[in-house]
Amino acid sequence: MTTPNPSPSTLFDKLWAQHLVHSNDAGVGLIAIDRVFLHERTGGIALKSLRAAGRQVADPARVFGTMDHIVDTHVGRNDDTRMPGGREFIVQTREAAKAEGVTIFDIGDKRQGIVHVVSPEQGIVLPGLTVVCPDSHTCTQGAMGALAWGIGSTEAEHALATRTLRINRPKTMRIIVNGVLGTGVTAKDLALTLLARHGSRGGQGHIVEFAGTAIEALEIEARLTLCNMGAELGCFSTIIAPDEKTFAYLEGRPYAPKGEVWDQAVAFWRTLKTDDGATFDKEIVLDASEVGPMITWGTSPQQAISIDGIVPYADEASAEIHQRAITYMDVTAGQPVEGLKIGSAFIGSCTNSRLSDLRRAAAILKGRKVADGVRAICVPGSGLVKEAAEAEGLDKVFIEAGFEWREPGCSMCFFAGGESFGAKERVVSSTNRNFESRQGPETRTHIASPEVVAASAIAGCLADPRKLAA
């Protein structure tokens, strides 16, 4: 007979305890930060301000940077960007990183790419680490079993200077997903389903642990997609306990431990899971079989419906915001979303730009053509993703179908002042935000999985990939 654990802990409890340097009566913990990642949009200013304040990066070996947000993604690019003033962000970030001895994955380096693609790919994020980045989608990296969260630039300065952050301890939430996701149904659809049900504040104040058989069944890249969308739930962050898939993914990565230290690390990482009997402040249970291909119809990621659904009618509580979204998106309550004519299609971003995403989209595009008049763009998440995709001939599939095949970066996930899809243009996009003007002034964004984007690009309208395959 085994003795019950007298004080079962959640995964978060363990990570909190392992990183707690000091705590005070105010409920604030001084938490050790293991990795800081920076990008040229919000990281350069942190390095610059740090220096202006007469401070230094305390441990530059544990700080990394990449160029992703502003860098041009056209083939043949250099430091010039289509965004006015963009070059300065790149040059100043590079110079500041060099001055502080921070490793940076720069333009021309095939390791360069979107921070939340690069970090797992390089083995910079590891299970059990605390990882911060002045980027709201840092929760993506929680998929590796790390405690990873987005911060502002001032907090980044704090982490750089002190190797710690002062954190208000979040509450805990577990989202258990059991069952099996249907064919053609992805982690993106699961995330959009959670957003549709629980809203853009559904996780507020909480660290969300995803668990259950459907989560265990997800491959690492799919877990990264799911955790990425946690930013849209408003939570402190998202995390998935590391398992054999995580260890297999990380083994041999450039910054992952090697040899005896690797074995020691894996033994430690196996302890990083929620104990039986541990309790959460909140728990949500979902059956994966209830999830189908999803798409957003409005201007918040929570305004998501099944691809074969209709634009909902407003309830009294949300009438004003509902009407604003209806007007902005030029849709009508009760109208099916399937069949809405699109002008553009985009595959990329920290949500869905990894090799498995490109493979699944390519499987739909193979032997087909993008509809006349639709502008379609694919932006691999990193130089290494691009290289791997090209080795499999995926670039040819995209190009032959009529997609542009770009250099890695955040690209048109958001509008930085250069490239836009155009005012009132309807775009189907594998990204994470459909806010007003997110992808360009007055652009109408529908977010969905790469499968839905690919199927829609071919159809010329929002389309259900399951029907195309049939």
Binding site: A32, G150, I151, Q204, F268
Partner: protein, 207 residues
Amino acid sequence: MEAFVRMTAVAAPLVRANIDTDIIIPSREMKSVSKTGLKDGLFAGWRYTAVGGRDPKPDFVLNQPEYAGVGILLAGENVGCGSSREHAVWALHEYGFRAVIAPSFNPIFYNNCVRNGLCPVILPADVVAAIAAQVEADPANAKVTVDLEAQKVTAPDGSEYGFTLNNEEDRIALLNGYDAVDLTLLHKDAIDAFIASDQGQRPWVYL
């Protein structure tokens, strides 16, 4: 950091849910590697008639003369969601805002407020709506007071509403304008000791 103790000011009602940081400052308005030069880009998409232009849309709240001297923003649920860009807070501060009152905040935006002398005040949605209604009736004169020392908001009609920050440490930092790095470096010995011990426990962390 500039301290915040209390303020009585004109309040701008923008009580919509999910005002994201792209709305507060569009990416295209972040033109240099700087924390300043951002106030003209504040709410640019809602404030001006054309993208990149500076012709005011007359119906936008900040363009109405009664809201000159505004210091407090009244917002809806989940204010500051989306991008972590601290430029949203820098732009609000540079414009003259010193407090944001909303039923709920995005957590990164909330921290960014606290670190930049902008007081984040959480009040129930019906209270925010009631204050907004009073303000809209007489914007220039119906002033709102946010008092962080007493932890209360006084509405134009004199009603008082208590509030608390996420923790007492944030309140003390805001009241005194403390720099969080300075506060943390008081624990430098504890940090060094933690790392020395952790290097033995988790050597793979240290590169």
